[in-house]
Symmetry: D2
Subunit: 337 residues, 4 copies
């Protein structure tokens, strides 16, 4: 029988870094964990009048729930995180422009002499039953429904080399990858850097476009069920995802072509290993069969994924088939809850 742990952090328990924090819970590998995560604004932006630059305070942005210590996890292992369910916790969600943040504005690094763009907040209606969110324009009557597609922008483990990183940063430890591919049904793999791995999760989006061009998704608190499991003695150099039908590698870097290179390089070498293909043969196959979903083009590192359908690899098992096992456990749990 599988352990189930539920955890809803008090506001003062929220974490703003990966690394540098004591665990809030300790669980055995294989535990089902029910988590509440706050939105990237800490829940302080509730309506179009709540400007993030006024109601939020740096560096108390993008809080994560955790970290959770997984017993027995050691550097050199891989943490497998199966996302069983991601459900918006409120009937509304928000998005915004934010001064000096986003892909089409001057930022701290792409520094220009322009005045910032207007700071605006958009409030979305969230209808979980109908599976939609509703967008309302701020400066006209335009309104439209978009499909609900819940995901987490931020998920990861403590980084290596004694580092601690702001939750807004995506890197080899995971973090703020901001990819719509991190939805329910996915198993995410993270290389373990410190004892216990120290997994944390946050930044739920009801949906987001590719690249999160304005800098924020449809931001929402979430009630999320994950299974945390461990693959001993197997390293994972960069975050990877597996679904029933596809394998994915994430790369986070600037410029964006380096995120592309990192993700494609990992997918090429990973799938070469899985299939027995020579590396150049795998390079050719991924070149014709691969996809390149864009994660974020707004965070301190940009994130891209490299993705390939398992059928195009003749369906090799990855990580000893753990995805299928966790998927089955998740289905059972959700069905009998």
């Amino acid at each position: 029988m599988t352990d189930v742990v539920s955890y809803r952090p008090a506001p003062e328990e929220l974490s703003y870094t990966f690394g540098g924090r004591e665990p809030v819970r300790r669980v055995e590998p294989g535990t089902i964990v029910e988590l509440y995560t706050e939105d990237c604004f800490g829940g302080r932006v509730r309506d179009v009048g709540d400007l993030p630059s006024v109601v939020c305070e740096f560096p108390y942005l993008n809080p994560v729930t955790g970290p959770i210590h997984v017993e027995g996890a050691e550097p050199g292992d891989t943490l497998a995180v199966h996302f069983a369910e991601i459900v918006p916790a409120r009937e509304w969600a928000v998005s915004s422009t934010f001064p000096h943040f986003g892909a089409l504005t001057t930022t701290h690094t792409t520094a220009m002499l322009h005045a910032p763009l207007d700071e605006l907040v958009w409030r979305y209606d969230v209808d979980v039953a109908a599976g939609v969110v509703r967008y309302h324009a701020r400066r006209s009557d335009f309104s439209v429904e978009l499909p609900l597609d819940p995901m987490h922008g931020t998920a990861g483990v403590a980084p290596a080399a004694f580092e601690s990183r702001m939750t807004i940063v995506p890197d080899a430890h995971g973090g703020n990858l901001d990819t719509p591919e991190l939805r329910a049904g996915v198993t995410a793999y993270f290389g373990v850097n410190v004892p216990g791995a120290l997994f944390a999760l946050g930044d739920g989006h009801c949906r987001q476009g590719d690249g999160e061009v304005c800098g924020t998704g449809v931001e929402s608190a979430m009630n999320t069920v994950v299974i945390l499991d461990l693959i001993k003695g197997v390293d994972t150099p960069t975050p990877r995802f597996e679904t029933d039908t596809a394998l994915m590698s994430a790369g986070s870097a600037r410029p964006l072509e380096d995120a592309y290179r990192m993700s494609q390089h990992d997918l090429v070498t990973w799938t070469a290993g899985l299939t027995g293909l020579d590396v150049l043969d795998a390079y050719q196959l991924i070149s014709q069969a691969g996809e390149a979903p864009v994660g974020n083009v707004c965070d301190p590192n940009y994130t891209m994924l490299a993705k390939v359908a398992k059928t195009f690899l003749n369906n090799p098992p990855a990580y000893e088939g753990i995805h299928a096992r966790l998927r089955s456990t998740a289905r059972d749990y959700l069905a009998t809850r």
Copy 2:
């Protein structure tokens, strides 16, 4: 009744630039044009022993068919190119690594001190009836079928400012965009820079992955049917595509985030104009509803597209509804041919 023009270039008629060439044909707007295009190797790579660096000669690479002068086209107009049909012309296709070309290798610009990667050729079986191509590994027995998804890597018009550009370059005039989105059923829009527009087409791929990471797709000669039409007095700043369900803008630049920025910027401002949305409202909507298909991450400029479903815009007409009209003409022509 619609004019139909067929043109199969002799080898010596092939063109290696956009701009700087006399037209090979002159057609009226609305003409259906049946074209044969050679593959990017000029048809010289026919088997795994034909190394591109040996059998091809710079700058006689990536030949295009054309240019075609469209009567009445003037700077400030838009050329609409509807792709009615793209059919591989042979039962085989090829792909290769090429010294100093591709995303995971040292190149002329990302210059490093490494020896080049091995130059290898892969030969694919093409089965148009079954809708598949078959990949064969070079260094093992691995083999797999991939769906046929024919497209053109290179399409465009003469550039502005008296320039003539190698066909391998993608830019505002089109060129070597190398995006899998340029398949049959699409209407492509190019801003006209010189009298007659001077449209040319080449670089057919039976399919390609996102980014064309090794530098080449599944390269094939093609028999392609396009309709060339004209939208007078309407400018198009960067190549755009329309399908029955989506609008797309292309951006070509380095680094890759600039290609992303250009494409998203054009889609935001274009759709703001189509919907009457304020630009920041459109920025928000595209941020949540938009996609970012990757074109190439290997050519002199990288290419990304920004894409949005028309339903998420409440289905505004674009370019006076020309896509639907050309689509209908194409269907009629193909049905009665």
Copy 3:
């Protein structure tokens, strides 16, 4: 005895591309050529009220004088251009911001949703005898003298592969390198791509800062004396410069690290050849002894130079010692003129 040719183009003779133009003059190798070059605004911006976006018309920007056909130049040769003298032709010069141009502003490629920065013109006093230019602030009384350091932003030959490129573009053929290193006393080397090489020159600056951050230097018409000479059968892959004390390689690309890589790569491999050093030994030596002068960070490609003092290489001769010979010829000519 050395031939001397003088050429002052009429306005309608100015050229706006490298490539695609008939030569304006034909000279023998070794000829001394006295040229008048217009400023990048075509001389139309004469005072602070002359806004470039109003008085100039795209694509009639950055005119060059030329092209000059050098007899006997063939692809595979190197054109040596010794800059004997560069003298501002007027007692004033101008600089400006320009909408969507410069390093600290949204541009066509680094596309953002900001309104453009204000377009302003600055008029400098030029005192050739005193060797200074004087800056005057537009929005206060601040004024300061800066040393005169005349240079050409744009110099090069016709590109390869049937291309013709706007004069604003720097690339392997030279073009708009915009580096303060292109001053009198330098010999520049350009690989020949077409018969006659087709050298052209323009865009004089009384001085410029590293990177030309606002997009323009202290722009001036120039009276310039060059010697055009030929090195048969020796190729030059990217523009190179030589002074009495240093060797330099130029790289033009985006992102800026690729311009750095290209220039350092060429300097490493070039100096390895000159000194007999192993390439990794040269890599190490340049790593400790090399400089990296920044050219432009505002043009369609960015430009960086890699530079090393000849003494740090134990003074090997380059290009058969042509620089010393041309320098001597230039001194003699200027002394006896």
Copy 4:
């Protein structure tokens, strides 16, 4: 009378991060501090047979001496660090290539499918009295003297936002800037992020070229004298340097043009404040008078400086003239020691 503190860390006292460490010393503002710093290899690479990948262990690379708590330093203040003296501590120094590190090689982020370049070590003779280092080629008899120009690659304070960063990273807190401008005679300014500032120093180079293209300088332990002082209530957004004749701003980011933008942006806005110039007037002045020394083009962020001669600003005082005072104190101390 000025306090003097001397500190030579035991090997186990060395630090590998900025942030996340307890201070090793506490000093009053104005204290003269004599520090010993180990080289980037922790002193383990002593000859050409000591390959870094063998004798060094990740993450125990690039050790720094510190951190030092400066009493009274609070977020919002500026730490002024005057470099009085930097003297190589040994008669030899080393440099190396290192697998997947450097500008002309595949790296973790610019990920390619090449085998790594050869790992080689070069050992330099250091002659402090003569003011030279001697380079010896590994694969030939070539040898040459280069001027000694001692500097620190790594200097900074604890970062903001609860972060702790590997010492190899340059960012807003300083860190591994790897610029030859950080030599004796310079006052460096760092914004304080945590109480006590927590200054640390390491990575001495006998000299380095611009960009540190192979990834390492002429690496040496150093005996260094700094004065640590405090400017209360004045923030510094990015590391800045001051010499007797120039002001400099550092920017660290990828791609390299963003490091350029950040540094130029800071210099433009800083000098606008110092001179009373309008920001666009300062933009223009820096565009013509500014320099752009390249720091590193090999670390996790690249670093560039923007630099301007004080005379071109009509010599405004910066930071209340603290540089001149510290310079004078340093001279007195060194003279009387």
